[in-house]
């Protein structure tokens, strides 16, 4: 197919002057970070933050000028996930000597609070007034910071969190994009209920045991962050479980299926976000009149959030992470971002820009603590020969 006959996909492209104008608010808001970095006086840190700020804003302008959301969001999202261990592990080595936390460190609440643990702490916090995660209540990576960030982003993006704000989702997005063709194509659709079953079971069990069961036993991302030192057979079993889950759900299955298996078929936090998605005003809609039923979107959706019923009803399933993959690949422009309460024909371009703003701001500021810090460590590695 030649370039001239190739069908255009994604949202309509935008004139460069218009894109620059619409990018200006993002450019200014995100400029707060490099301005703050200037105060630190540390050259490597300032350079790292400036590179990040520039890169992210260029990606945002490209989203607007090309009309492609998924492609650029995906790059930034993967960057965020990969950046996390690049600074987190050296930081752990600096503060604790290794990635492993001793039992004493857990008892004295030295673990960093993970937003994914939010769903487990809600019930015990409400019923028993206890925060069952072994982290500080406030401070840099404490419970309050994560809870505030989670609440705000849920309000702004709903399940869009899983495509713009999650610290880990980029890992299986990365591996799901590495192969051109899926090896495993037919997956029983009933598996999409597993995250909800897991959510229910973990919430109930965590309330009984007053411990974050998911973090203790099922989180695949422990091996790229922190875990308990193997001082007992139980701890060894836990570490083996983390390794197996990471390679199975985040590496091998996404490679074989070209889907985000951990996010779509396992993550209980994603299930919680799906349930809370109602309070958010942005959604993805399908125009059944424009749709030619090619079903490419169903085959390509990274989180199994589209089925035949979706094409008829015009609504994806509640598990939709608003990643924009379907919007970008639809040759009929039948799928678009939409603001709840407006008509389907209401300008999808406006809805898209309004959705991109909070998404980008969230991604940028979460990345600022991760990509910026990772770049800083890399600069440090280059200049001093060590990341620590």
């Amino acid at each position: 197919m030649t370039a001239s006959t190739k069908t255009r996909t994604g949202s309509p492209p935008m004139a460069i002057w218009k894109a620059l104008l619409l990018s200006l608010p993002m450019f200014l808001i995100t400029a707060l970070l490099p301005l703050q970095a200037l105060e630190s006086g540390e050259l490597s840190y300032i350079v790292a933050i400036l590179v990040m700020w520039l890169g992210f804003n260029v990606a945002f302008i490209l989203m607007l000028t090309t009309g492609q959301t998924y492609r650029y969001r995906s790059v930034l999202f993967i960057l965020l996930a990969v950046a996390l261990p690049l600074w987190f592990i050296p930081m752990m080595i600096e503060t604790h000597g290794s990635m492993m936390l001793s039992e004493e460190a857990f008892v004295s609440a030295e673990a960093n609070f993970c937003p994914l643990a939010t769903f487990m702490v809600i019930v015990p916090a409400l019923v028993k007034r206890i925060v069952i995660f072994p982290s500080a209540l406030a401070g840099g990576l404490g419970f309050a910071t994560a809870a505030f960030m989670w609440a705000g982003s849920t309000l702004a993006l709903g399940r869009g969190w899983c495509s713009w704000g999650c610290l880990f989702g980029g890992w299986d997005e990365l591996f799901s994009r590495l192969r051109k063709r899926a090896v495993i194509k037919n997956i029983d659709r009933r598996w999409i209920y597993l995250p909800f079953g897991l959510l229910l079971a973990i919430v109930l069990l965590s309330a009984v045991t007053l411990s974050p069961i998911y973090c203790e036993w099922l989180c695949p991302f422990k091996i790229v962050t922190e875990f308990q030192a193997p001082t007992s057979l139980l701890a060894i079993i836990q570490i083996i479980t983390f390794v197996v889950l990471f390679f199975a759900l985040v590496v091998v299955l996404p490679l074989l299926t070209r889907r985000r298996i951990q996010c779509g078929l396992f993550c209980p936090f994603g299930a919680l976000q799906s349930l809370l998605n109602k309070i958010n005003i942005f959604e993805v809609r399908i125009d059944p009149e424009k749709c030619n039923q090619c079903k490419r979107c169903i085959r390509e959706c990274p989180t199994f959030s589209l089925n035949e019923g979706s094409l008829e009803s015009g609504n994806p399933l509640i598990t939709c992470t608003k990643c924009a993959r379907c919007i970008d690949i639809c040759t009929k422009n039948a799928i678009s971002f939409h603001i709840k309460g407006t008509s389907l024909q209401a300008s999808p371009a406006v809805a898209r820009v309004l959705y991109l703003y909070p998404g980008f701001v969230l991604l940028f500021f979460i990345s600022s603590a991760n990509v910026g810090a990772a770049l800083h460590r890399i600069v440090k590695l280059i200049t001093t020969g060590s990341m620590i």
């Binding site: 209920y193 909800f196 229910l200 007992s232």
Partner: protein, 208 residues
Amino acid sequence: MQGFLLGLANGTTCLTFCAPVLVPFLLEEGKNVRQNLMTVLKFLGGRLGGYMLFGLLAWATGSLLLRTTSYQGLVIGAAYVGLSALLLVAVLRKKAPAGACAFEGARATFSRWPALIPLGMGFLAGLKVCPPLLLAFTDAASTGTLIGSLFVFLMFFVGTSIYFIPLSFLGAFAHVSDLRIVGKFAAVIVALYYLFSGVLLFTGGVRL
């Protein structure tokens, strides 16, 4: 009366302890509010059986049972494994793989007497030692008579049971067929957790 007040004051804790078994089971069954109420009552009936056993033991052993460290490992471990088995039976009995001979007998039994599942679950859940139960046990042991001990547990049971009734209203969502699948997954996960915990407790915990 003290048993009743104790139950009333600690009912939410008892509910929290029983919910991981009861909630997935009710969702998986997908019945309406009235049928769910019957299931909850059967569960409570089983739980009453467990409590009466505790009442008997409190009278017979005084506080000796609480001081017996192997009790927790053996009895609670066995109760966990039993709960796990019952949950798995509840989920799989309708769809056991063909030729699953070992499972056939259990499936036939539970198909003939389906009430055995909530009753059994209730009984085994009643054997799980939660903090309020320990208080009730101490109270019952201090009465010194069999009737007194059983009465404390009966009143404790009544006090705590009030909190279980609202679970019947999960039946209001019975029309959402997706919830049945969610319930099934949750039941299997809870069952696996109890199986693992039960085996660990039974073997006395494993430490290097």
